[in-house]
Amino acid sequence: MEKNDQSQGILWEVFIQGNPGIPHKHAGSLHAPDAEMALQAARDVYTRRSEGISIWVVPAQNITASSPEDNGSFFEPSNDKPYRHPTFYKVPEGVKYL
């Protein structure tokens, strides 16, 4: 099959929210011809064991990603700034999902 073959629809990235109040997490991807079918396929592929309460589907082509060459300028400058981590604070008891 050719790389750009779209006979199975375009590629969608699926994000699932597991519980109220927590972020949608990337669950995987799938092929579908349009948004509604992508949503249904996501429901069938990724939530059939009660994994979620909300689904986002996003066309993979609409995601702009950083490239590995960006790593130096993007991420390394923060390596020597540990004070930006919240580890200097005491986390109040009972705070979940931090």
């Binding site: 629809g9 092929h31 509604e36 079918m37 249904q40 069938d44």
Partner: protein
């Protein structure tokens, strides 16, 4: 069984067998669907139907009161004792045939089960309330495919139109009533079938219009499932489905 129990038993078989046979048909797609995502979707729906059939057949066994189980009813009954709607036993054909068959049945079961949620029979009411959410999803899924295949390419449109024309004569059988059904209706156990048929027809017309499909005008309808008269396909299906229990009686895993 008294008259009312017989009527209830027959309805359990009618709904339970339809779910079992349609579930089995859909399961035949496992590993063969056009795309992976749809393969999972179809088998999900198949499992919903098999689960639903278990509820109906265990209730049937309870009413029958002969010490049988849902498995006895599923695996040890012959063609003439099956009461599934004729459309559910029709072969999968191509994807368009499977989807048209599914859509016709989903619309029927949507309107039927919604009304059955008001049944005087608490077990049937419970079965319906549990099933209706799954059925809503089935209908959404098959409806979306009707739009996409019908109003898709020239080829997909033609295949779906052919499928619809081919299956049309089996749709009337869904709405057949007999003295058993009438007795249940008099006792507020089942909805009026005439209303289900009207709702079904209106929905079909609406989706056909949006899908650019032409409503078949053939008026001849096959029937007979409520008396155990089936098309030739059911025997082959049961031969495969019941093979294990028939060959190795009482075997289990």
């Amino acid at each position: 069984m008294n008259e009312l129990e017989i009527a209830k038993f027959e309805l359990c078989l009618r709904m339970g067998d339809s779910a079992l046979i349609l579930g089995h048909r859909l399961s035949e797609w496992c590993g063969h669907a056009p795309i992976l995502e749809e393969d999972i979707a179809l088998t999900n729906v198949a499992l919903d139907f098999v689960g639903l059939s278990r509820n109906w057949l265990s209730y049937a066994a309870l009413i029958q009161n002969e010490g049988k189980t849902e498995d006895d009813l599923a695996y040890l009954r012959d063609v003439v004792l099956y009461r599934n709607a004729l459309i559910t036993e029709q072969p999968n054909g191509d994807f368009a045939v499977t989807m048209a068959r599914q859509f016709f049945y989903d619309v029927f079961s949507y309107y039927f089960y919604i009304e059955l949620c008001k049944s005087n029979d608490l077990t049937m009411k419970g079965i319906a309330e549990k099933a209706i959410k799954e059925i809503e999803y089935h209908l959404r899924h098959s409806t979306e495919w009707m739009y996409r295949l019908g109003d898709g390419t020239e080829e997909s449109h033609q295949k779906l139109q052919d499928a619809v024309d081919e299956l049309w004569m089996f749709t009337g059988d869904l709405f057949v009533t007999d003295k058993n059904y009438d007795l249940l209706f008099e006792n507020n156990i089942v909805p009026e079938m005439k209303n289900i048929h009207e709702n079904w027809h209106a929905k079909i017309v609406d989706v056909f219009n949006k899908s650019t499909l032409v409503l078949p005008n053939a008026s001849f309808m096959q029937s007979g499932s409520t008396k155990g008269f089936h098309t030739e396909h059911l025997g082959f299906l049961l031969a495969e489905m019941q093979y294990l229990q028939r060959s190795y009686p009482n075997n289990n895993w």
